[in-house]
């Protein structure tokens, strides 16, 4: 976990206010330390959005840390059914019920005595039970018994005043439908709205932090998952690192690919802590170039992480072995290179970033090399495509701060004469761009490589031909072949015959020609 979540009931160092740590993954990160003790919060959401799970998860976590919780329902589902649904969750612990976590129905008091009767019952029970967390589930029903909005607000104010003296944090759960007005939102100290909606065929759960009084917080929309662990929140990556450190490591070194001519062009390699985009159409060799980078790092003793979406680890190792990178498996087995394969499921973009950053933090090593194979994996997990630029900028910056030297592979269209990155602003947040492309000429496909951008370092901007051989990626010694390919014919110098363009590097035709050339040179000598 990247966020610094504190223990239960810890005091906020800045404000001196005591906090109730919810223990819900990353909710305490959003609230910058937990709910305020004695404060009240509204949890809104349509049926099925996870209000009950969230409130129970907070309650079980709270009692585990020594608190006492009271869960009062008002004509919601029966306690037996609620507990049966919760039983599968990992936070559930039957042994704390009813002594530490008490479930009550407040409906009969409400029906007999109205809001006053309910308030009296809550006060009495909470004081006797020494409650430190009160959950009132079904605020819509309580509202039905209010004579007016004003009397409902009065009920809330009385409840809050009492809970405040008791030091009891209150959660008010209320169903919510679009456009609905909730008078409790003005009275409470914080409002969290859970939502459930469809983005294409995909169900998206979100938590919107709308209000949080008394402390700084990460307001806004954050994606939510409900699993056997209960609710897990994934804060937006760009707000998690909205105040990033300005500087990374100063003793930066060049990180080579282990491909002689490419490393020469890069003046020894890309700078450590930088981000490099490998831009190219499918099949141009981006994955192999990235694997070269990890492998060269491992040979130099630098750890590496492959974070990819499309190739399973065995398939990836097989592919690498087929082009002369047999020792990749050796370094993977040793643990120096780690393959983090993300199975083809419906991912959450921020959850992917968390997984990656947490893993790097766990490894806690210097000079780590990272290859993210397929930015499109992140893109397809995005519910809000307009976030992509800010997301990658924040992720790249955070990786830089972790001293990771990152390569992203990014696909350009397969059949396009121009170079179009799917994410136009990408050029701004990466330091280096290496372009791999196909050029079709006289029924032959040639591969060309060029360095489009390299910040803070000199580089050769010339275009070179390259090939994928049994010994890995080979880059042409000179720019000549690339020039021949791009112009479509050899440059005619005075007194020389026009030359035909050679077959692509690494192909049988090119090998034969290279052999003939060698014989000729030997005869001349």
């Amino acid at each position: 976990m990247l966020s610094q979540e504190k223990g239960h009931g810890e005091k906020d160092r800045k404000s001196g206010q005591e906090r109730l740590i919810t223990g819900v993954p990353r909710l305490d990160f959003i609230t910058k330390g937990g709910l305020l003790k004695g404060a009240s919060y509204a949890i809104l959401g349509p049926p099925g959005s996870g209000k009950t799970v969230l409130a129970n998860q907070i309650a079980f976590n709270h009692v585990r840390e020594g608190g006492r919780a009271l869960y009062v329902t008002l004509l919601t589902e029966s306690h037996a059914r609620m507990l049966a649904n919760l039983e599968e969750m990992t936070f559930f612990d039957r042994s704390v019920i009813p002594d530490k976590l008490h479930y009550l129905s407040g409906y009969s008091e409400l029906e007999k005595e109205g809001l006053k009767g309910l308030l009296d019952m809550l006060r009495r029970t909470a004081q006797r039970h020494q409650t430190t967390l009160l959950i009132l589930d079904g605020m819509d029903v309580a509202k039905e018994f209010a004579r007016s909005e004003l009397s409902f607000k009065r009920f809330l104010q009385d409840l809050q005043a009492f809970a405040g003296i008791l030091g009891c944090t209150t959660l008010l759960l209320c169903p919510h439908h679009a456009g609905e007005h909730h008078p409790e939102n003005t009275a409470v100290d914080g409002v969290f709205e859970l939502s459930l909606w469809l983005s294409g065929p995909r169900a998206v759960r979100e938590l919107v932090a709308l209000k949080f009084r008394g402390s700084d917080s990460l307001l806004g929309r954050h994606e939510v998952e409900i699993s056997a662990k209960g609710i897990v929140i994934h804060p937006r990556t760009e707000v998690q690192f909205s105040n990033p450190e300005a500087r990374g490591r100063e003793d930066r070194i060049h990180m080579a690919f282990g491909i002689p001519r490419l490393d020469d062009s890069l003046r020894g390699g890309v700078l450590s802590g930088s981000t490099t985009m490998l831009l190219g159409a499918p099949g141009t060799g981006k994955t192999l170039l990235g694997l070269h980078f990890l492998l060269q790092g491992a040979r130099e003793g630098q750890p590496g992480v492959y974070f990819g979406f499309y190739e399973t680890p065995p398939r990836l190792l097989e592919k690498a072995a087929g082009v002369g990178m047999k020792d990749l498996k050796k370094y993977v087995d040793k643990g120096l290179i780690e393959i983090q394969w993300q199975p083809p499921l419906e991912h959450n973009m921020d959850s992917l970033a968390e997984r990656l950053l947490e893993r790097l933090q766990e490894r806690n090593v210097r000079r780590i090399r990272l290859f993210i194979d397929g930015l499109s994996g992140f893109r397809s997990a995005a519910v809000y495509p307009d976030r992509m630029g800010r997301f990658f900028s924040a992720l790249s910056h955070q990786l830089r701060m972790m001293d990771a030297t990152t390569l992203y592979s990014e696909e350009t269209p397969l059949l396009s004469s121009g170079v179009e990155a799917p994410l136009a602003e990408s050029a701004a947040y990466v330091e280096n761009i290496i372009l791999l492309r196909y050029v079709e000429l006289r029924s032959q496909l040639y591969r060309l490589l060029s360095i489009m951008k390299m910040r803070e370092s000199q580089y050769d901007s010339g275009i070179r031909e390259f090939s994928i051989t049994d010994e890995g990626i080979q880059v042409a010694e000179t720019f000549q072949s690339a020039e021949n390919i791009l112009t479509g014919h050899a440059r005619v110098r005075s007194g020389e015959k026009e030359q035909a363009v050679s077959a692509p590097m690494g192909t049988p035709g090119a090998k034969k020609k290279a052999k003939r050339g060698g014989l000729l040179r030997r005869r001349r000598s």
């Binding site: 004695g38 006060r123 009495r124 004081q127 009385d158 005043a161 009492f162 405040g164 003296i165 030091g167």
Partner: protein, 126 residues
């Protein structure tokens, strides 16, 4: 059963403190300002008065002074309860204690139990 008079214009606080003290077996009488408090003093004969400072009609200092001028209530324990720390004037009028808002249940009960200790409950086993 001991009687506590609560004088405060903030009704939610009055109601909350009343509920808590009733649960602790105190009889509670409530008033929204000093003038009301002086009127009900003779009838309720409290064992303890909990007095807010900032109130309409008659503020806490004026109320305290007026209570002390009545011989029957010269020694009545008075607990000042306010969001502001009382000035030296409150001490001059011999208040028995001070409870700064917001206060906790423990702080409230400690003061109340000290200033108006309950007689032992005859029904409670010894």
């Amino acid at each position: 059963m001991k009687t506590v008079l609560i004088v405060d214009d903030e009704l939610d606080i009055v109601e909350a403190v009343k509920a808590i003290l009733e649960e602790e077996r105190y009889k509670v009488v409530t008033c929204a300002n000093g003038r009301e408090a002086l009127q009900c003093l003779e009838d309720s004969k409290p064992d303890l008065a909990i007095l807010d400072i900032m109130m309409p009609v008659m503020n806490g200092y004026e109320t305290l002074k007026a209570i002390r001028q009545r011989p029957a209530f010269e020694k009545l324990p008075i607990l000042i309860m306010s969001a502001i720390t009382p000035t030296v004037k409150a001490k001059d009028y011999a208040s028995a204690g001070f409870l700064k808002k917001p206060f906790s249940l423990r702080q409230l009960l400690e003061q109340v139990h000290t200033l108006a200790p309950q007689d032992p409950d005859p029904q409670e086993p010894r």
